[in-house]
Symmetry: C2
Subunit: 246 residues, 2 copies
DNA sequence: ACTGCGAGCGAACGCCGTTCGTGACGAACA
DNA sequence: TGTTCGTCACGAACGGCGTTCGCTCGCAGT
């Protein structure tokens, strides 16, 4: 929302300090999130950025959880969705989920934590869910399967982003990160082959591939599984693919 | 040396206090986790349960993160794995993952948060991973696919448990929880059909099914997807199903 | 009997989320 | 114009957190 220019007088027309508002709080929060990560995002830190005390925020925001929800949806607003093209549904779906994940793991590191803690019900999150459902329907997925798949895929994107953002913040130095992977790989190799026969045998495979490759493969597995799981399988038709009853 | 009757006696005056140890700390932590949830699990709370100050814990535990990792692995120790029976691999896998999820969402509510924050590398976590890999291999999954699937399935179990434990702690009253679901369902129904056509059309499906049913269906989707995704698909054979090169 | 060591722990530091009471000030009203 | 009133801003405080510092003192080794 743009600043209101129609009101000639404001509480404090001093240009020195932009009036406190929900938008100002969200903007400040996003900036902190982007530059300092989610751990730095405290009420006090946001208040400090707005040159005020933490108590002042509570006029516009009920509590920390609400601030987080607002910030998440504001961040989600930067994800653009394109109209569904049925011929390219799978490609579009992969692209959408990739951008969601990138947003949560790179652009606003740590914001995935917020998405895990609450079901996102903000306007922008709904816009993304709408697009995802539309793409799934274009792919010929049944109503019930699409509804559940949207949940599953969102969860996947969020969990992946959460893990990746954790590594990114924990090992800011890429070399350090590489060394950590090597350390774990070595750990696998020294395991007792008696106790962990499969693991030792598969050790080379356990640490293979970079994050993005693994992400795309997981997405493929989910989508293929969706298409391969019968709409009325061994579970009740009502729960999985039947008609709504309410 | 109780010289002053009004002054509290020193802790040292007390005789047989169970000596502080890593095990005692873990036991106390598990008990708090079980009865009060992960949010109550602070260094101070554990110290209090052991009738001491928080500083004393740091002799045995490096920091909060290490305590969490220790607790997670101790909890994982209560999950029993049975020998792989190739004929029943799928059933056994579902059972194993179900028990993992139940552990994290019900028995030790909130412990899933710890599993998301670090790759579990404790002895008991490895035992479970070993079993999972063995079951996947018994199901005819390729080496590379099994290695990745173990990751994917663990992530799924953890994320599901995390969500469920959050609801459980947030809405301790089951009625309240039910009402919350209804509230969200109503929210979906009142969405603008212009902006969210697919969502409004699918609204009845979006809130259907209880947690456990959804959990099992997701697991089915993942396993089916695993079997349906070609070992050498559109991605390089080296990354997905090829032989190790190291 | 003495000594060195290290476990145990009291106290403190600097964070955190949240609440309370108060003061300032524009708007409405007399 | 003067007065009241409601609301926003905010200083201060409360109770909690993780972690560190340095002291005390029981005990093992001599």
């Amino acid at each position: 929302m743009a600043s209101d220019a129609s009101a000639p007088r404001s509480r404090r027309d001093r240009p020195a300090k932009p009036a406190l508002s929900r938008e100002a709080i969200i903007d400040a929060g996003l900036e902190i999130l982007r530059s300092e990560g989610v751990d730095a995002l405290s009420m006090r830190r946001v208040a400090q950025a707005l040159d005020t005390g933490p108590a002042s925020l509570y006029v516009y925001v009920a509590n920390r959880a609400e601030l987080h929800a607002l910030l998440f949806d504001a961040a989600a607003g930067t994800v653009e969705v394109e109209p569904t093209d049925p011929a390219r549904w799978r490609e579009q779906l992969l692209d959408l989920v990739t951008r969601m994940t990138r947003l949560m793991s790179e652009e606003y590191p740590g914001i995935a934590k917020m998405a895990m803690a609450t079901i996102p019900t903000g306007e922008n999150a709904l816009r993304i869910t709408e697009s995802m459902l539309s793409l799934l329907k274009a792919g010929g997925v049944s109503d019930q399967a699409a509804a559940y798949a949207a949940d599953l895929i969102s969860m996947y994107a969020t969990a992946i982003a959460y893990e990746q953002s954790l590594y990114a913040t924990q090992y800011a130095d890429p070399d350090h990160q590489e060394r950590e992977v090597q350390r774990i790989a070595a750990h696998f190799r020294y395991l007792s082959a008696d106790k962990y026969p499969t693991m030792t045998a598969l050790a080379p495979f356990l640490t293979r591939g970079d994050g993005h490759e693994r992400f795309l493969l997981g997405l493929d597995v989910i989508i293929n599984g969706l298409l391969a799981t019968p709409t009325e399988g061994r579970l009740s038709a009502q729960a999985w693919g039947g008609a709504p009853d309410a």
